[in-house]
Symmetry: C2
Subunit: 257 residues, 2 copies
C-alpha cells in the first residue's frame, strides 16, 4: 500500500472534488483532516496542497487552514483544471470556453504557419485536408477516423504556427473536436463548404499566402463560433446571475440594456 505513486492519485481526487463543486469555494480544509480522509501522511498532503495552490485552486494560511478559492482564481489553462472541469458539472461551460478559444487561435495560427512551416509540414497539411474531404464526402463524418484525421490536421496547423503557446493548445483543440463528436454534434456529411475551407487553408499555408490562410481558417471556425454564442447567449433570459461572471451568461444578449 506504499510506494505506488499516490501523489497524483490524491491530487487528482482532491482536485476533482473541488472542481466538481463537492468542496465549494470558501470551504476550509485542514491538513490533518485531509491526511485522515485520504489515509496518507502529512508530507503527501502538503505536496498535493502546494500543487493545488500553484494552480490557484486553494490558498493555505496559518491558523486558518486550506481554503478553496473561487473559481475565477483557478488557472484556466492548467491541463488538469481543464480535465477536471470537463469531467464535472462544468463540462458544457468549459467546452464553450475552449471552443471560443480555439476559434480565436486557429486563424492566426494559419497565418503564422503560412510564413513559417517547413516543407514537409506544408505537404502533410495538404494531405490531411484531402483525406478529410474524402472521408467527409463518403458521409463518414461520424467515423472515428474522421475525428482522428481532423484532430491531426488541426494539431499540425497549431504546431506549424511556430508559436509554442499556440502549439500547446493542441490538446485543447483535440478535446473540443472529440467533445463535439461525443455530443453527437457532428453530421454524417460535413458541410461541403467546411471541407473546402479546410483544404483551402492547407493550400494557402502551403503556398505561403498568409492572408488567405487566415481568412479560410477563420471561415472554418466562424460558423462554429456563431453556433456556440447563439446557443449560450440565449438562455440568459432568466437574469438570475449574481455578479459572478463565472456564470458566464453575461447578461445582455442585446445592446446596452
Amino acid at each position: 500500500m506504499h510506494g505506488v505513486e499516490q501523489h497524483s492519485g490524491v491530487l487528482d481526487r482532491l482536485g476533482e472534488s473541488i472542481a466538481s463543486g463537492a468542496r465549494a469555494p470558501g470551504t476550509v480544509l485542514t491538513l490533518a483532516a485531509l491526511e485522515e480522509e485520504f489515509g496518507v501522511s502529512r508530507t503527501l498532503v502538503r505536496e498535493v496542497v502546494r500543487v493545488l495552490e500553484s494552480m490557484g485552486m486553494v490558498e493555505s494560511r496559518r491558523r486558518v487552514g486550506v481554503t478553496v478559492r473561487p473559481e475565477r482564481d483557478w488557472n484556466p489553462f492548467d491541463p488538469r483544471v481543464i480535465r477536471w472541469r470537463l469531467g464535472g458539472p462544468g463540462r458544457d461551460e468549459q467546452l464553450r470556453s475552449l471552443t471560443e478559444l480555439r476559434a480565436a487561435i486557429e486563424p492566426v495560427a494559419a497565418r503564422l504557419a503560412a510564413g513559417r512551416a517547413d516543407g514537409s509540414t506544408r505537404r502533410r497539411l495538404v494531405e490531411l485536408a484531402a483525406r478529410l474531404r474524402e472521408l467527409g464526402e463518403a458521409r463518414r463524418g461520424t467515423d472515428p477516423e474522421y475525428l482522428e484525421v481532423d484532430t491531426a490536421y488541426h494539431a499540425l496547423l497549431l504546431e506549424a504556427s511556430g508559436n509554442p503557446m499556440l502549439a500547446a493548445l493542441q490538446d485543447v483543440v483535440a478535446e473540443v473536436l472529440s467533445g463535439r463528436t461525443a455530443l453527437g454534434l457532428m453530421p454524417r456529411s460535413p458541410a461541403p463548404g467546411a471541407l473546402e475551407d479546410h483544404e483551402a487553408t492547407a493550400a494557402a499555408v502551403a503556398a505561403g499566402d498568409a492572408a488567405e490562410a487566415e481568412a479560410r481558417a477563420r471561415s472554418v471556425v466562424t460558423e462554429v463560433l456563431e453556433g456556440v454564442v447563439e446557443g449560450t447567449d440565449r438562455r440568459d433570459e432568466r437574469g438570475d446571475g449574481p455578479t459572478e461572471r463565472a456564470a458566464v451568461t453575461g447578461s445582455g444578449t442585446g445592446p446596452v440594456p
Copy 2:
C-alpha cells in the same frame, strides 16, 4: 532562520535558474544536492520540485534524480514560466509569442463582448477608448498614463468577453503592452487609424454589433502582427528546416543569427 516563507523563494530561484538556461534541459539534480545548495530541508525541496514538476519543467524519477525537461514541455501558460522567461534570455521570443497570442485573442474577445457585456462595461469601454484618443492626439503616446489607459481598455475588453480563458490573459496583454513601451516601440503620436479603431471597436461592442467589433479589433491588432511576423520570418525559403522553432529570436531588428 526558520519559518519564513521559503517555499516561494526557493521555487522562484530554482525556476528562474532553469528558465535562464543556467540549468539546461537534461541536467540532473538530486534532492540532496538542492537541499544543500539552498540550505533548506528535504521537505521544502520536495514541495518545490513537485510544483516545478506540475509545470512540466522537471521530471522526477527514482534512482535517477530530478531531470530538467526540454523547454517545449513547459507549460507556456503558467504565469511563472512566462515571468521567468521574460526575465531571462528568452525575453524577445516570449514577447513575440505573447504578441501573437494577443493578436489571436482580441478580435474574438471583442465579438463575444458585443454579445455579452453588461451596460456599465460597454460604457466604460467607450470612455476608455475616448480617453485614449485624447491622449494620443495630444502626442502623449509614450506617457505612463497612455499605457495605463491602454492596458485598462484591453483588459476590460477581455474581461467583457465573458470567457474565463480569454479573461485570464489580461496579464499577458498587459505585459505585451508595457513591453512594447519599455522597448521604445511606441511613437509619441499613435497612428490615427489605430486610435480610430480602438474607438470603433468600443462603439461596436456598445452597440452590440459583433461582426463590426471583431473586424475593428482585428484591425487594431493586424498591423502589430504583421510587424512581428515580418521581423521574424525571412528564412522560409521553403526547403526544410528541422522541427526547431525555438530559435527565431524576435526583436525585429537583428537578422537571424
